[in-house]
Structures are given as structure tokens and as C-alpha cells.
């Protein structure tokens, strides 16, 4: 845990700035909270990934990763998710330029790409299920579905957040700094993407 260092660093950062600023560090509370949350999510996904890594080889003869993976398909959906990170960053950058119209468009595009990814995952799950890989079939299947399912739920929550944000921006329902709100959702979204970067390599590309 690097908190020692964080905290030791901090005083230098805000120095004598007290009084003028709203906060000790001059940073946004929300953003601090978000990064902390993302830091903690590392331990959540780390645990799920470790469980998968431990159990990836424990399955019946013909229902393991090597038999099931469809790399071209997964690559395509990974690509889609990666591109959604680009559109997300464009949304944030529009929002910072106070161009809410563009920001909303990019947010919507991001949500669409995200939905495409989730649709891909649903398709993948159904295919695997048809091939006989139920949730309870083996250690591999339980841990695979749990890991990717958790990620899928994160993406879905992200999509809901993106769409809600678009609606709220349209209806003027976002209190406070709109650009920051977009940025917050953006951080979450990128994190989900980053987790998939790990999953794509560790789960799909590295053979069992």
C-alpha cells in the first residue's frame, strides 16, 4: 500500500495555498473518490482473475479454453471496446471545451459501442452454453463466467450511466460541473476497458 508515500507527498502539493482553495489539495473530491474506487476495483478484479488463473486448467477433456475460444470473434469485440475508449475520451474532451452537443453525441456512441460489446459477450456465452459449458460444469467454467460476467456487469452499469448522463445533460439535470461529471463517467469507463485489456490477454490469448 503506497498510502504512506501519497500522504507524505501531499503537503508539498498544496503548500501555502490554503484559504484561496476550496480544499486542502485543490483537487476535486469526486475525482479523488473515483480514483480511490478504481484502486480498490483493482483488488476486486485481481481476485477474480487469480481465481480464474488458478482454475483455468481444471475442466473436462473437451470443454476447456483451447476448444472453446473463438479468437477472431473475441478480438473483434475487444477492438470495439477499445474504440469505445477513444469515443469516451473525445466526449470528455468536448465537455471540457464546453461543447455539450458533441459530448452528448460521443457519449451516445460510446454507449452504443459498449452495447455492441455486451451483445458480443451474450452471444459468446450462449455459444459456449450450447456447446455444453454450463456455469456449474467445471471449475474453469464457473470461474470464467464469474470473471467475464462481472466485467460484463460493469460494462452494463457503465452503459446505463452513459445513457443517463446523456439524458440528464439534455434535461439540464446535472448539478455542478458538467465537464467533471463526464470525466467521472469517463474514468469508470476507461477502467472497465483497461480490465478487459487484461482479460483479453490473460484469459483468451494465453493458452491454458
Amino acid at each position: 500500500m503506497a498510502d504512506t508515500a501519497v500522504l507524505a507527498d501531499a503537503p508539498a502539493d498544496h503548500g501555502d495555498a490554503h484559504g484561496e482553495h476550496h480544499s486542502s489539495t485543490g483537487l476535486s473530491n469526486n475525482k479523488l473518490a473515483m480514483w480511490l474506487f478504481l484502486g480498490s476495483e483493482c483488488l476486486l478484479f485481481g481476485g477474480l482473475i487469480s481465481t480464474y488463473m488458478l482454475y483455468r486448467g481444471r475442466h473436462s477433456e473437451n470443454l476447456g479454453p483451447d476448444q472453446l475460444w473463438d479468437i477472431p470473434f473475441t478480438s473483434a469485440s475487444s477492438f470495439v471496446l477499445l474504440m469505445s475508449s477513444l469515443t469516451m475520451v473525445l466526449a470528455v474532451s468536448s465537455a471540457h471545451r464546453r461543447n455539450l452537443r458533441n459530448a452528448k453525441i460521443w457519449l451516445a456512441v460510446t454507449a452504443t459501442l459498449g452495447s455492441l460489446f455486451v451483445a458480443g459477450q451474450v452471444y459468446e456465452f450462449t455459444t459456449f452454453y450450447r456447446e455444453g459449458l454450463g456455469f456449474t460444469t467445471s471449475l474453469f467454467s464457473s470461474s470464467f463466467y464469474t470473471l467475464t460476467g462481472f466485467h460484463g456487469v460493469h460494462v452494463t452499469v457503465g452503459i446505463i450511466m452513459l445513457l443517463s448522463l446523456v439524458a440528464m445533460l439534455s434535461k439540464q439535470r446535472v448539478h455542478g460541473d458538467k465537464a467533471e461529471t463526464v470525466e467521472m463517467v469517463g474514468l469508470y469507463w476507461h477502467f472497465v476497458d483497461v480490465v478487459w485489456i487484461l482479460i483479453f490477454t490473460l484469459v483468451y490469448l494465453i493458452p491454458a
Binding site: V6, M83, L90, S164, G176, E180, I206
Partner: protein, 113 residues
Amino acid sequence: MSTETVDHTTEAGHAEHDEHADHGWSDGKYIQLAVILAVITGLEVYASYADWLGPAFIPSLIIMMVVKFVAVVMFFMHLKFDNKIFSWLFYAGLFLAVGVYVALLVTFQFFNR
């Protein structure tokens, strides 16, 4: 927690925000980075089919993964431009996770008897 982000867009810390935006990149650069990331992804997929990598296969995959990870975090997530405290908070969790879970897997994989 995730829902919090929607609404916790408080009135706080806004003054700094516009500054932060300046630290970011132009849209063009973001697109460039995205292209690079796409290319690396392509390479990863290629690597998983290529036989000639031999023992370098897994390390090369891991390296590409890390590069992608870092690129997104640093640039798309602005960590490189933002206050160091954010980096500390996030990397604390990240490195802790890597350290602890690698140790866990190691106890299972090796010294296990």
C-alpha cells in the same frame, strides 16, 4: 458505488477543471493513440497464432498487454497530466493487487506441498 459518479458531480473543485483540460491532448492525438492501441491488439492476436515466438510468446503478450494498459491509464484517463495524488491512489491499489495476487498464485504453483 458506480452510481455515485452520475450524481456526485458536485460543485466542487471546478475552478481547477478548466486547467486540467488544457493538460490533456488534442483530439487528433487521442485518435493516434487509439490507432496505436488497435495495432498492438492486432499484434497480440497475430502473436497468439504465430509459432515462431517460442518461449518469447508469453512474455511478449504480457509486455503488449502492459503497454496497452499503461497507455490507456496514462493518456485516456489523464493520469499523466493530473495531480500525482491520483496516481498514488490508483497505483497503490494496482500494485497491491499485483503483489498480493502474484504471491498467492506463486504459493499455489510452486512451493506447494
